[in-house]
Amino acid sequence: MLEAYLTNGDPTVPLKTGPKDKDGNPTLPPEWAKLSADALAAAAPSTATSGPGHNAWMMASAALVLFMTLPGLALFYGGLVRRKNVLSVCAQCLGCAGLVTVLWWAFGYSLVFGKSFNSPYLGGSEFFFFKGVNSAPNTDYSYWVSQNVFACYQLMFAIITPALIVGAIAERMKYSAIMLFIALWMFVVYFPMAHMVWGISGLMNGVWNGGSPDHYPAAAIKAIDFAGGTVVHMTSGWSALILCLILGKRLGFGKEKMAPHNMVLCMVGTGMLWVGWYGFNAGSAVAADGVAANAFTTTTLATATAGFVWALIELIHKGHASILGFCSGIVAGLVVITPACGFVSPNGAMIVGLVAAVIPYIFVVFVKGAIGYDDALDTFGVHAVGGTTGAIITGILAVPAKLADGKVNPDAVNPNLAANVDKFIHSGTLVVQQLEAVAITLVLSVVGSLVLGFIVKLVIGLRPTPEEETVGLDLTDHQEEGYI
């Protein structure tokens, strides 16, 4: 069998050393001549066909998104807090993973990706307790990826989103209060938002929801959000702001040194977030296809550029480039490119990278200082501001699939825009759709968190006692120390 393998169909030999045209470009390999036109069309773009590569990529992507939270985000946030609270941050990430999984299995997946309610606001009950979620694809979302893998992949998003909130309220909120808040928040904010944006019958699912006669209307808002600028970053970031305002500042804020206790952990977490984010962004194509390839590329460019530019601004503004600056820039770049990655070109990504460094920098360094809220680890400055920026800029930079005259756009990056979205791009009004989506997200997040924050405060209280806070949440809430 090895001989057959070496002489036939090897990926490289016949292809790479085959006949070339007069410019030195390889022409089609000879064996392809034997294939029918249909087979040829299927073979040519290696990525745009059925095959096990899609499931492989989605399983890898789901693992990568989990990696973002555990240990990625736990380390990124954990390194930034003081030594006495490092474990509390880890516990919050671990708690999210456990709690959200149970909710997702029971209700969440169905409420987001079901459609039995025929509602723009919430999915359905058909997948409660993962009923029927097996290895066959759910063709509402993909022909090629097993639905159970898709459900796990989306679970990882549902885990990291509330975990992001933790950054704003770090070092001063009772563990029980955080967990209760998050449990409620998933139902009030996350599940509806995720359905509205990504559910097949969702209110703002501009790309896919063209409506189904007799069942549900087409998306009222033709917004686009590739990997979660609104669903993930805006919801968590704006909720974080509200919660941190309700909660108040850390004891000693502005007087005591609250510098990161371990910048190495923070750097490690940043690296893991970046690597894992490829699963987040390129995985959101729900295929290992050309759209994923483009998302991979734009993510790379925007992220590296944002990290670099943030450090450069710091160098000019403060005289030195800090590790925290690099890390903040990288995360900001990742956040801002998230809604855009599958819709913009590489050069669009460079612009995103630039913007992603400048705007959050201003918020984190100037606005926060001026207003004086205690967003401990800058969840608002990076995720809310970044997510909002990203959602809007996506409306400006998205590349149409077809030209105004209906011909295929030679610079297109995502053919899925053709059906419903292209016309808004051509008329320059996609950004209006985006702004509407931004407004709805903002209102839902702010109002939802305000109500839930006060409910939890009333029911079990939000803060530990001052002595507990001074001793640190690691000992208080978990009876453990980070390092001995």
Partner: protein
């Protein structure tokens, strides 16, 4: 017998150790401490929040020695540790009543 406690800048440790070795001081105990004094810590800014860092890392040397060596040792330390800039640290001298070498049960001057 006296005890010298010297608070110095961390990067001066090697030089001080060598200066003491030259005058025959063979034993000392070193610990990492934080100093608070006239040398004001720098202002650190983390993502928009500003803190003044009061406590600066210093090294504390403890040396017990016979009375006759004290002046020489203090001189050596001061010379080696001096940079002339604020925050160079201090040397304190106090009395010690007895010293015992655990290994040999020796007491007094022989033990230091």
């Amino acid at each position: 017998m006296k005890k010298i406690e010297a608070i110095i800048k961390p990067f001066k440790l090697e030089e001080v150790k060598e200066a003491l070795a030259e005058i025959g001081v063979e034993g000392m105990t070193v610990s990492e401490v934080k100093g608070f004094g006239r040398q004001k810590g720098h202002t650190e800014i983390y993502r928009g929040s500003e803190y003044t860092v009061d406590f600066l890392p210093k090294i504390k040397l403890e040396i017990v020695l016979t009375d006759n060596l004290v002046d020489q040792a203090v001189g050596a330390i001061v010379k080696a540790a001096k940079t002339g800039k604020i925050g160079d640290g201090k040397v304190f001298v106090s009395a010690v009543e007895d010293a015992i070498r655990i290994r040999t049960d020796e007491h007094g001057d022989k033990a230091v």
